[in-house]
Point group: C2
Chain length 592, copies 2
């Protein structure tokens, strides 16, 4: 997209529409591109000729032999123009266009292809229904802002690969047609014609294969891997996505983190941004207390604070009962929040209640004093202590909740996101990376009552917590680390179980007996028995990363051919029906 | 795999097993790896510790505290060894090992993991059944010769991407879940749970999408694309393979060829080999006449020559009748072939008959004269002319066939391959690239009697042949080009139809009516209507290329997790059955 690129000269063109400058004046050149727009200025025709690289102004004088062709060329006709580059007269130069110094005086124009009128105007993004844009994705992609995303995505993929190759990671392709693995979502399946009645599964991630590659001795693996999940419909989910997937032998959590930090450093450097490594690390339990989320957006400083000590002798039942029951009083300041109306405060209260809190105590700090409907329950000394603790300034609001810390956390976390959205606090950094570590290894499955994995069934417990597997499995922390960027979970990784005995013990806790372990996880469990090296890795959402970098809310904007939320491709009409012959060959029948 | 690589130091090791030399003598280091082999030499234990990068000899003296652990470590145990690097005494240095100058005097050995006895010996490749190797692929991949192939594959993928990025090709991912396209083979299909009764198809190639990307204005696209074909069982076919796929706008055949030649130059340079560009180009009709194959192995000079003129007045009915009927007499010399016995000659005759010739005339040139059972039918003058024309030398054989050139071609082509195999002629080059161009656009489908595409339904006819589409479609040549390397078809590409009218005309010749065209090819045909630029590209088999470079006959040797010829993965047991619940969710029933 820049001029500093190699020649894209071909048999049909000498230059692209984005590269001619005053330095080319006087040269005879040939360009190819679309008729982006045309105007008649005192009988002279000006055509903006567009390709991926830019726009060049083509001029056809009324007495020129090309005038008629220029006149007849409609919007989006594909033209080949040969002519002489000439500087635009001073006042006509367009400083907003890279090629604005020159224009091309056409001596020859060939219509390479015609075009029907487009179903929508390429310049009018906002007004066009997304379904129409997806149906005609090939036209939607002609819009420079969408094309730019795809170009950038490809460039960043190359940064990723170049970096990991430099670190001697081996790029290894794992199969698309494979066997069902337990990843928490449904597999897409592929009936096998050669083995009737059986199915391949499309991979939800290369997890098992990358561990197998470590057992194979490949030492360092990576892949930009396609992963497919047959999930229920949800906005901004795609049935297939791409992940930066890597795995390393003989590592601890920090070895993986350092590789990822170096990678992010190179990716952001490639777009002219700086990120500082190492990234901050927080324990899961700590991040939940301080931000009420395991993926807090640390571009904003807002932090939940414990103020239980302020209310040790409080007569306010909401606080005293919570404290007596082993709970806490915790608070979040919203700078500028004193401007919230009663109605706003009611909405915020609803929000925290939905997120599990019993209620919300709010206080405004205005004209040097507190105001709140519950102010009468808070003593002067408590008010003064709150002011100091939260460093209240004129116009701020303070929100307090009292309960078990684990209950308060998500409620104040939801409030934190809402305060960021409403109060738009200053960003303390542009790119806020965070490692969240040491999640609980297991949690109770709501349905079965069994223990289940919180992230990945192959994650290792922290060595110091291993004894608790027998006594208090819910308290065992794992060598799991999530990478968060600007409040988005970008990746999830862990040190894995490399011992068969440990892996089987954990499956046992999840309620699998020996036969079930063999049936569902036999391959990996058996492989662990042949000298599996200690290993760990991570998978990071590539679409999400590109989405954040491109500043888009929808990953559809960074995928060449996305599907709708119902999993349909409006351009190709996939999925579609099969004919009877095909179904018969697959030994399948469709039932109601 | 070399020592010139960045540090792979981790929390658990300071070096790899492949990098220590005399320069490290005296250093305290920690290595991790497998116990590759162990021997006891006068009470001292020597362990060859192995990782991906090499082998280092570890020494445990009988009086050392590590001796017991070393003694108990079995084959393929994973060990972590800390110790002092010491030079091996002069006579003990092993020049065949990169680390042969040194050994590691162990001060501490930790068993990181144990191993069951392996089901086969990693050193004994030849004796092991391939099914066993595929079942335990994670052990098979520990064999350095297999691991080396995968490492090289990853490195070459990076060369490909770096080169194409440098030329401003945009790497764009096309969907895995898509709609059936007509590629000549069966699609794998994926039932849609959210849209019961409908199916996605897995892509057989990104052909339609890459053309759509050109219509989208992406100008230059590439991808290392996964392609899946549900083909009938055949040796050395894999249901999924990877292709280097690219497409460019505003190009002719040679623009694509130059990009590919540059790419091959870089790939081969990366393995220390030189290939010379431009590659030779031959017309399809010419290559068939001269080599009897559209993918001749031009490492060998053998060439079919026309000798009809020698036999203009021949009384030999086999020749005279063929010539009278508009046929030709064509011959192939086998240098050293005079050593073939009668029995050999009979076998060669059988071979050419199987390949469609009526028979084979053979002559040996021995002791300065011809010998042949049919010599009596060939006059002295004809014998002399043959000797000159084919430059016969002592010990050569000459093979002649008479018929229509198109009939002779494949027969003598089959003979050519056999002569290469039997006579092992000198290679005139190590890497023989060839462009074969201008295939017939259409051929008669044996079943339907309709015209069908020879390579790709989207290939454009040569402009000068367009008028023949109406008068003699079988004579129309196409802008199709195949890339051949050492007798293997490595890639296939073409300039495409960018005009809707032309594309519809060609589909019409194939027997599709307007409704069928819309149903089967509607998306691409409609897209051509909105200003499709002229474009062309190529797809090249990446597995095949790596196979040739690695010198293996089986692409299974260059794929991490290959399937058997019946499409099964013996390691994961894919494909496998689904449970009833899953089938029900997909609205499917399995029938006989």
């Amino acid at each position: 997209m820049t001029n500093n690129t190699p020649s894209k000269k071909t048999a049909m063109r000498t230059h692209t529409c984005g590269e001619l400058t005053a330095a080319n004046a006087g040269q005879t050149v040939t360009l190819c591109g679309w008729n982006d727009s045309k105007r008649n200025h005192g009988g002279v025709l000006f055509i903006n000729l567009r390709d991926l690289y830019g726009i060049t102004q083509v001029v056809a004088a009324p007495d020129s032999p090309v005038f008629k062709t220029a006149e007849e060329a409609k919007s989006e006709y594909v033209l080949r123009v040969t002519g002489t580059v000439r500087p635009r007269p001073g006042t006509n130069a367009n400083k907003n266009m890279p090629t604005g110094e020159i224009e091309l005086e056409a001596a020859e124009i060939t219509v390479l292809n015609t075009s029907q009128p487009l179903p929508f105007d390429l310049g009018a993004h906002a007004g066009v229904n997304e379904d129409t844009r997806l149906k005609y994705r090939y036209l939607d992609l002609r819009r420079p802002q969408v094309a730019k995303n795809l170009v950038l995505r490809g460039r960043i993929a190359n940064v990723v690969r170049t970096y990991l190759n430099r670190l001697d990671f081996n790029e290894i392709e794992t199969p698309m047609l494979t066997k069902s693995t337990p990843e928490g979502a449904r597999d897409f399946v592929v009936p096998s014609r050669n083995n009737p009645g059986t199915f391949y599964a499309l991979p939800q991630s290369p997890q098992v294969f990358k561990q197998i590659l470590m057992i194979s001795g490949m030492d360092r693996y990576f892949q930009l891997a396609r992963a497919m999940r047959d999930e229920d419909l949800r906005a901004d989910r795609q049935p297939e996505h791409t992940q930066i997937d890597l795995e390393m032998s003989y590592v601890d959590e920090h070895d993986v983190a350092r590789v990822v930090e170096g990678l992010m450093g190179e990716i952001f450097a490639s777009i002219g941004e700086t990120v500082t490594a190492p990234f901050p690390e927080m324990e899961f339990s700590d991040v939940m207390l301080r931000y009420g989320s395991d993926k807090p957006d640390l571009r904003y400083a807002l932090e939940i604070k414990d103020c239980s000590s302020v209310f040790k002798t409080s007569g306010f039942k909401v606080f005293s009962e919570a404290l007596a029951g082993g709970g806490a009083v915790r608070g979040l300041k919203g700078a500028g929040g004193a401007a919230f109306s009663r109605g706003d405060m009611d909405k915020l209260t609803e929000l925290v209640k939905k997120a599990g809190a019993k209620g919300l105590v709010w206080l405004r700090y205005k004209d040097g004093k507190w105001e709140s409907p519950t102010l009468k329950f808070i003593t002067d000394a408590e008010q003064a202590a709150l002011k100091d603790l939260f460093e209240m300034a004129e116009g701020d609001a303070l929100f307090l909740a009292a309960d078990k810390p684990a209950v308060i956390a998500p409620a104040l976390g939801a409030l934190r996101s809402e305060l960021v959205a409403r109060l738009k606090p200053a960003q303390i950094k542009k790119w806020a990376f965070l490692w969240v570590r040491h999640f609980p290894l297991l949690e109770k499955d709501a349905e079965s009552g069994n223990w289940t994995f919180t992230h990945n069934p192959f994650t290792a417990p922290l060595p110091e917590d291993i004894p608790k597997l027998d006594t208090d499995p819910g308290a065992v922390l794992s060598a799991q680390y999530d990478l968060v960027l600007n409040g988005v979970e970008l990746g999830s990784g862990s040190v894995r179980n490399h011992s068969r005995a440990m892996q089987e013990k954990i499956f046992g806790l999840m309620g699998y007996n020996a036969e079930q372990i063999q049936r569902r996880f036999g391959m990996i469990v058996n492989a662990l028995d042949y000298g599996a090296p200690p290993h760990g890795g991570i998978g990071m959402g590539f679409d999400r990363l590109i989405g954040i970098i491109c500043g888009t809310d929808s990953i559809r904007d960074v995928i060449a051919f996305p599907k709708t939320t119902s999993g349909a491709c409006l351009m190709t009409d996939a999925p579609s029906t099969l004919d009877e012959k095909q179904l018969k060959e697959l030994h399948l029948k469709i039932i109601e």
